[in-house]
């Protein structure tokens, strides 16, 4: 690139000589600067021949080739003769390259018919369902192997994960649970107050938190926090060929990476859910005292009359199941991630969506099951 101040911008002029249009290009042709337009120069003329002259060009780059190519293409379409013989050999060679790349550059059509799309989506769904089955099967087999030889289990990784997904999640779980308790209390108070059943707010809060909301809200928080982190970590490891390295050493990725995470979540989820129950009830109790003037002792006594150990157990069972779902979704999507930055991002998103979807399905199944068993 020239830094000479006297260098002027790209210019093009034309003179007519019989049926020949002589085009003279001059100045500095830089792709980052404005260039003259060929249609403007042509001005509606239709010459039989176009001769190109570049003697006055001071500096040039691809922008000059682009202009020459436009002239050449116009001549080809209009049946005019384009005389490139006055051009330097190097420019003619580059122009030939440009013509060749124009011909070979055919847009790659990735679109397909509706039926093809439906068929492909169906097959994809079947493949994904099979992959989930394989993954769950792998996890079960690896667990059995580890029960037989527990020394091979990565206890240190598991404890680190427990800290990450358990202790480190306490602040966000506290906030969410407390606010859920408060929201439930306010909503319940609107109806119960009308019938003079203020005290039954304790039953509503206690049952909702212990059987349902404690486990569900903790699982939602962990799906966003831990499930996405699992997917991103494993996806990144896949992109860096770290998982391939494990496989070549004969160490199954499921055993080495997935089981410690699953166990960590299966242990920490019920503990977090119990903690969430306590915080939710505390939030509800505060609102009951502040809004309906129900003393905490009365709230507690009324709640204990309705909520028993069976309800707490139901919530804990759900929490274990949700923990496994969050862990399985995160690890599965991480191991399925494409080997690219975008692939890792998609895996993290997909892990959260899969976990929440499966969790809601599991919650519905639990509701039917507990009802049938009279729990």
């Amino acid at each position: 690139m020239s830094a000479k101040p006297e260098t002027r911008n790209a210019r093009a002029s034309a003179t007519v000589d019989g049926d020949t249009l002589e085009v003279t290009l001059a100045g500095a042709w830089r792709i980052t600067e404005p260039q003259p337009s060929w249609p403007d120069l042509l001005g509606g003329r239709t010459p039989a021949r176009v001769r190109l002259r570049l003697e006055a060009v001071e500096v040039w780059d691809t922008s000059l080739l682009l202009y020459l190519f436009a002239v050449q293409e116009w001549c080809r379409v209009c049946g005019a003769y384009c005389d490139v013989s006055p051009l330097p050999e190097k420019i003619r060679a580059l122009l030939a390259q440009m013509t060749a790349s124009h011909e070979t550059s055919v847009p790659f059509d990735r679109s397909e018919s509706f039926l093809n799309s439906v068929g492909r989506a169906t097959l994809d769904t079947l493949v994904k369902a099979r992959e989930i089955s394989h993954f769950v099967g792998d996890c079960v087999l690896s667990t059995v192997q580890l029960v037989r030889s527990p020394r091979r289990f990565r206890w240190r990784d598991c404890i680190e994960e427990m800290q990450q997904c358990g202790a480190m999640a306490l602040p966000i779980v506290s906030l969410v649970s407390l606010l859920v308790g408060v929201t439930l209390a306010y909503t319940g108070a609107i109806v119960l107050r009308q019938y003079g059943g203020d005290i039954y707010l304790a039953d509503l809060i206690g049952l909702s938190m212990v059987r349902e909301m404690g486990a569900v809200m903790t699982a939602v928080v962990l799906a966003g926090r831990t499930g996405a982190a699992f997917a991103a970590t494993l996806g990144n490891m896949k992109a860096n060929e770290e998982i391939d390295a494990l496989e070549t050493l004969g160490i199954p990725a499921v055993q080495f990476l997935v089981l410690p995470r699953l166990l960590a979540l299966a242990v920490m989820m019920p503990l977090l859910a119990l903690y969430a129950n306590a915080l939710g009830i505390l939030g509800g109790m505060s609102v009951a005292y502040g809004l309906l003037a129900i003393p905490p002792t009365a709230f507690w006594a009324e709640m204990l009359a309705t909520v028993d150990l069976t309800d707490v157990s139901a919530g804990v069972i759900k929490a274990v199941a949700f923990g496994l779902i969050v862990g399985l979704s995160g690890c599965l999507r991480g191991l399925q991630a494409e080997r690219s930055a975008a692939g890792v991002g998609r895996a993290a998103t997909s892990a959260v969506v899969t976990a929440i979807l499966l969790m809601i399905v599991a919650d519905a199944i639990f509701a039917v099951l507990f009802n049938a068993l009279g729990i």
Binding site: M1, V59, L66, R110, S340
Partner: protein, 258 residues
């Protein structure tokens, strides 16, 4: 870019007493050298001597703790953000891994700098992208995503992107790393072709002896112990005449029995 007028006296790159480092730790100090226009200039040295660090400081990815860098006579290190952005157009960089944007096709990767810095129409941008990809031997792969091509092709696509704006200077960070000798040789030929076509100044960080001896006009050699340049000159001259054992050992590695 071709310059039909007599060449400007200012060299392509002037580095004066540059000091580079991270987190308070000095990696290189008192680094001074000049790269002439149209030259193929190699920065060589053993692993960990600071070659890539120097390159990152040259292109502004890291800020030097002292010293100046001038491109085409204009100071880059002291330039204000607006001038600096303008100067970024004058150089391109090929990263070690190609560093292609994975969510964009090769055509879109090459088109992005053109969309950012030129007023070309989208049809013209497509033509330029196809030309640049064709020049690096990737004609017909315009609509492939980076994940769908090999490592060597990614490097060539990265080169096409680096050349999109016809920069006056192109930096290469370990272009041969991870490539087989044939592909590596083809990349060297491409570097020569880029210089031949557009008179581009090329700066290469490498320790690939075959490339150094086949395409380098001049080299500087860095050393981690000395934290700076220990040799400068034509590679064959240094290999034949240098009395510094570190230089001769590096450049005559194939002659030394194991």
């Amino acid at each position: 870019m071709n310059d039909a007028t007599p060449s400007d006296p200012a060299p392509a790159i002037e580095v004066n007493n540059l000091e580079c480092g991270y987190n308070g730790k000095v990696v290189l100090k008192n680094v001074s050298f000049t790269v002439r226009r149209g030259e193929i200039f190699f920065i060589i040295g053993g692993s960990g001597c600071g070659k890539s660090t120097l390159l990152r400081h040259l292109v502004g990815l890291n800020t030097p703790t002292a010293g100046t860098v001038k491109f085409l006579g204009r100071s880059f290190t002291d330039a204000d953000p607006v001038a600096r952005r303008g100067m970024l157009k004058t150089f391109g960089m090929l990263f070690q891994s190609g560093a292609l944007w994975s969510s964009l096709t090769l055509r879109q990767n090459v088109a992005l700098p053109l969309e950012e810095y030129t007023s070309l129409s989208s049809a013209e941008i497509d033509e330029v992208a196809a030309l640049k990809l064709g020049q690096v031997g990737l004609g017909g792969f315009e609509d492939y995503f980076p994940a769908e091509i090999s490592g060597g092709m990614k490097k060539r696509a990265g080169l096409a992107r680096a050349l999109a704006l016809d920069p006056a200077i192109v930096f290469f960070d370990e272009p041969s790393a991870g490539l087989d000798p044939v592909t590596s040789r083809k990349l060297d030929e491409l570097i020569l072709q880029v210089r031949e076509n557009f008179g581009t100044t090329i700066v290469v960080v490498s320790h690939e002896l075959a490339s150094i001896f086949s395409i380098a006009d001049r080299v500087i050699m860095l050393d981690s112990a000395q934290q700076g340049i220990i040799a400068e000159g034509r590679p064959r001259d240094l290999a034949a005449n240098s009395r510094d054992p570190r230089v001769s050992e590096f450049l005559r590695r194939e002659d030394k029995p194991l």
